[in-house]
Symmetry: C3
Subunit: 138 residues, 3 copies
């Protein structure tokens, strides 16, 4: 059993879902391991992770609109130091996830055919986001 | 330290919560391991996982009604290729989870007394769903 | 590769977010391991886990108000055996998470600067909550 870790940096331009499947799967492939467990950990409280439909851009747009509606910008938040998109970003992070753990089986991540891994940026302005990747495998 | 993996297939008839605790715990018991980590990964974007109350069917019905209300069928979604239950299925998946990791301690999953593991089917028609199970343990 | 497990008991007084980062990180530090994977598992269906902003108490208050609004107490639930705060507690648990898996890198949890680990108590009255901690590491 071996372990490998890395930090993946993702530059974001605006709110929305950014697919990171290829970058993550590429790093996993480079480790030459066959069977194990990959953990992806998002080191932020205003960006999150989501596994979603990788074929239909319309589904991603609906997802982005849905989270903008269910956790909207509003004048009612007490915490607004960083602007009106700050508190909704924390709420959208709380509703999705900060961490994904995915089995590695026969050298490939156990993702289904239509599953992609997305970084969900919740802030309006560009950010540099860091994902910690950890693989324990044979 | 050893690893074991399997694919568990669940046939679903309709939207709703289907308890899979016994099938998962049974497979874990068959591996004869004592201490480690179980990961359950749902390979779909319109079905998800949930750990919830295993004693009260009324709580499950309330959960099903709640997610039908908070992420409803609607004519407003852009993505409707597969029918009106398609986009709400992706939203309900995003609000719950695709993956669960549960410690194995003294040969048993560390679930609390009232916790059951559920597959949450979000589509109206029957589907065959696959859960990837991964166990790393001694 | 070694494993360590423990049960952490948290006494809660009322609904709300209780930071448990120091207690968890302290136990991890006591294990004297360098690289691996920590899993925190909440053994309840009316309390959950959340990684959130650790600097601004106002953000925590907004989070608490948000979940009270999005999954409110109501006379409409079928399941009310344990009182009006019972079913909303299950819903808020379903919307957040029961389990967190966090890489350990160079002897420290891979949390970002502003990330704290919180137990989210969803019941009104005092409870004793148990978190199962599992560490697999070198």
């Amino acid at each position: 059993m071996r372990q490998a870790t890395t930090m993946l940096t993702i530059a974001t331009d605006r709110q929305g879902l950014i697919e990171v499947t290829d970058r993550i799967a590429g790093w996993v492939a480079d480790q030459n391991m066959c069977e194990g467990l990959l953990t992806v950990f998002c080191r932020h409280t205003s960006a999150s992770l989501l596994i979603q439909e990788n074929a239909a851009p319309a589904a991603r747009r609906d997802l982005e609109r849905y989270f903008a509606t269910i956790a909207p910008e509003s004048a009612d938040y007490e915490h607004d130091d960083e602007g009106p998109d700050d508190m909704p970003a924390h709420l959208r992070t709380a509703l999705t996830t900060t961490q994904l753990t995915i089995p590695l089986i026969d050298g490939a991540l156990a993702l289904g055919t239509w599953q992609g891994i997305y970084l969900f940026e919740h802030r309006n302005r560009p950010h540099r986001r860091t994902l910690a990747l950890h693989l324990i495998a044979d």
